[in-house]
Subunit: 476 residues, 2 copies
């Protein structure tokens, strides 16, 4: 798939000792990726304008590492590096590049050269490169691509973002079921336009509906005269072209699929998705959930300072509003606190315990929704379970804290109020933790984004209100 | 890979209308997985002892769905279901089963039958099934497996858990580089013991060190006389047999690999890992991080009530201790609060804002460590960035809250103290949020487990202490 030139195959080495040095260091540090030493060597080569060295490094690295290297350079360095290597540029690098680096490259390499380079990639990789470009750049690039390929790309771009249609590759090998193994092998051997990488041959009926698949190793092991119909796997898992990529990934995981056919509304075979396309999707979806629950954006680690601060601040504004509401609730009990200051330091326990147990329930529910373990058929069961769990934990911690509180203030009633308030708040936390994400999802929103902050607001407000309310009623 | 019998291929249908019904309903609801309707039909078949129906259902479903179905039954129902289908049992189902269901099956099916069934699976799948069994069951099973296969399995089990050695399959196809395409095809066609599924042929030197790989589709497209040496991809990504599975997954993602050779300490080829083995690892690792940050176990959603409550309670004990410390800090300022009750409702704002901004920094750092974006070479840069981000956000929110606080209490100094305390706490939150996971990691612990609670304790304690301290000094 990747056309990396090996070190010995590139042209005359201008400073070969340095290159060996670089690789020795790299090997020592990590088994993959670009080492800091290599980055330093490259930046100093950029500084001394040693284009030959840069071409050599780029030629000897895996496309993923070239991209990694470019991503690690400053924008000026990126410009010089790309300028130096642009005539020996491996288009596969594009599929691994950050968006900002892609823009620099596009400006330097020029639409025409890039279009030619892209035509060496498979359609799913080309889509991956161009779908993130802005409308104008996209059109310029598409115009420079030959009409036939452009038509295919435009068809793919017409599918919704994050759908199976965007993920699939159009290049597939299809044969009819009455062919023999020999005919199939000859077809693969001779037909033009065979895809660069594929693991299975699809079997289609005259209407081009998929009816089976045969793995390549199976074809190699069968006798020449065997009919495809007799060896094909006919338990296919068809993927509708509009299926969301998250669903596609879950389906691949569920059946441990390696590749699956994609069909349009009329059931015709239009492409295939392979497991390597799905790996990134699985990871992205889980990553999104982690980041959203914590209130940060996915690209946070690589974003510049101001962008990061701005993006995180938006989430903190929610916390600010929440905590102002909670603060306002407390202020309603000003007199009670004035009379019994201990309430001020006990109330924070009720709020914190409720908040944390609620986050446990919310996180479990968000993930179960994301992995489709939680569906409309078992949601009542899940809510009931959270209710029972929070009753058990509520009783446990109410007892522990009640005893601690009573002993600390030498007042039996304080322990009673503390335990009672804690039990109510934890019960609410568990129940709301299970119900809120389900409700948010039903409203068509992403539960990972909104359920967490919503929940902690309620556990804070409720925690303070119940505890201070009970205390005012029973203790003063 | 999976030997599912299609619906029409099973023996005489005893109650075929029902089966059709079942599938109609299932199709309507979801594209994959087992529907609640099917589960209901199966439980009623179990109740009326309709073994033939159960065999038919099991035979028509994908192994993953049979496992899904068994996982959804109660333990009595599991027993009856497995009893009914045990003579037609597809061993692949085992690879998808929950541990508790595996035990039931083992007891009912018997070691001998199971051993025979297992010998039809590839070594990585067998390992997946037996590695979670307890020592005694494992030995019983191994004893029932023929000596040659047992030796292979024992060799694999000698590799550390979660290592590449456990993940790989031993069954690989190797050829020398001087062979032609024709010789290779004939070897694959005729050799006994060729693996069930493979996508590439590995090329080895006389010492059995891997020197290249050729994808099967490449072999099919080249001329018969072409030398393997001329078409092999020689840019291999070797995986040491002891490499942690998390590293393996990251390497697969980095290079978008489909399969990679595994080598032992002396560099000999001992197996291969394919991308479908890695999909689960990627997902598990991300899932672990999400769950640990929230303080729940990975299997939480499927655990019974008491187990869930116990496991979550252990995490809440940490919260309890944290909040008792914070509560104790507040109690030191009893007199200040008594004098100015407003401090009690303003202090919670400082703690909450510090806690949430700290969790943002902690989560980003934990994930960057997990994905190896954050390494020892760029950690200073990452910490510096967090520092700047928290200065920006600290100034922003200190100003906003200072104004709100001053206006609320009609006291300029209150706003000043509130803003100052908030700024200090957010600065600490950002700095500690970046440093704590790195330190925890350096101590050899999992940052996802411990960094979050550690951090919120400090932001709570520090938030209350700074605010109440400053207030006592400046306002009273």
């Amino acid at each position: 798939m990747v056309n990396n030139k090996d070190l010995d195959q590139t042209q005359t080495p201008p400073s070969s000792e340095q290159v060996d040095d670089v690789f020795f260091l790299e090997e020592e540090h990590s088994l993959y990726g670009v080492s800091e030493e290599l980055v330093e060597n490259v930046t100093s080569a950029i500084a001394r304008n040693d284009g030959a060295f840069l071409v050599k490094v780029a030629g000897s690295l895996h496309a993923a590492d070239v991209a990694d290297l470019i991503n690690k350079l400053t924008s000026d360095q990126r410009r010089s590096f790309i300028e130096a290597i642009k005539d020996h540029f491996d288009p596969t690098v594009l599929t691994y590049l950050e968006d900002s680096a892609k823009d620099v490259l596009l400006a330097l390499v020029g639409t025409g050269t890039l279009a030619t380079a892209l035509s060496n990639l498979e359609s799913d990789d080309v889509i991956h490169v161009i779908e993130d470009l802005d409308k104008q750049q996209q059109e310029q690039l598409l115009d420079a691509i030959p009409a036939k390929e452009r038509a295919i790309l435009e068809a793919v771009l017409s599918y919704p973002e994050d759908s199976a249609g965007r993920l699939m590759q159009r290049e597939i090998v299809c044969v009819p079921n009455f062919w023999t193994v020999k005919e199939t092998i000859e077809f693969i051997h001779n037909a033009p336009g065979i895809p660069e990488s594929f693991y299975s041959v699809f079997v289609v009926d005259p209407r081009h509906h998929p009816i089976g698949a045969v793995a390549l190793n199976r074809i190699l092991r069968e006798e020449a005269g065997t009919k495809i119909a007799d060896i094909m796997e006919n338990n296919l898992h068809l993927i509708p072209v509009n299926m969301d990529q998250e669903e596609v990934a879950l389906m691949f995981r569920h059946y441990a699929l390696v590749s699956a056919p994609v069909v349009d509304e009329s059931g015709r075979l239009v492409g295939m998705i392979t497991v390597d396309d799905v790996v990134d999707v699985i990871d992205e979806e889980a990553e999104q959930d982690i980041m959203y629950i914590a209130g940060v954006s996915e690209s946070d680690f690589n974003d510049p300072v101001l962008e990061t601060a701005f993006s995180r601040s938006r989430w903190l504004v929610v916390t600010l509003i929440n905590t102002l509401i909670a603060s306002n609730v407390i202020s309603q009990f000003e007199n009670s606190i004035h009379e019994k200051v201990a309430l001020a330091f006990l109330m924070v326990i009720v709020a914190a315990m409720g908040g944390n147990s609620g986050m446990q329930a919310v996180t479990v529910t968000i993930r179960a929704l994301a992995t489709r373990e939680l569906t409309s058929t078992n949601q009542l069961k899940a809510i009931r379970k959270e209710l029972f769990v929070s009753i058990v934990m509520g009783l446990l911690f109410a007892t522990i804290l009640g005893l601690i509180g009573g002993w600390w203030l030498k007042e039996f009633q304080v322990g009673f109020v503390l335990g009672g308030a804690l039990f109510c708040n934890m019960l609410w936390a568990g129940l709301a933790g299970a119900c809120l994400p389900i409700l948010v999802r039903r409203l068509g929103l992403d539960p990972a984004v909104s359920a967490g902050p919503l929940l902690t607001t309620t556990t804070d407000v409720l925690g303070y209100a119940i505890f201070l309310g009970l205390a005012t009623y029973f203790l003063l």
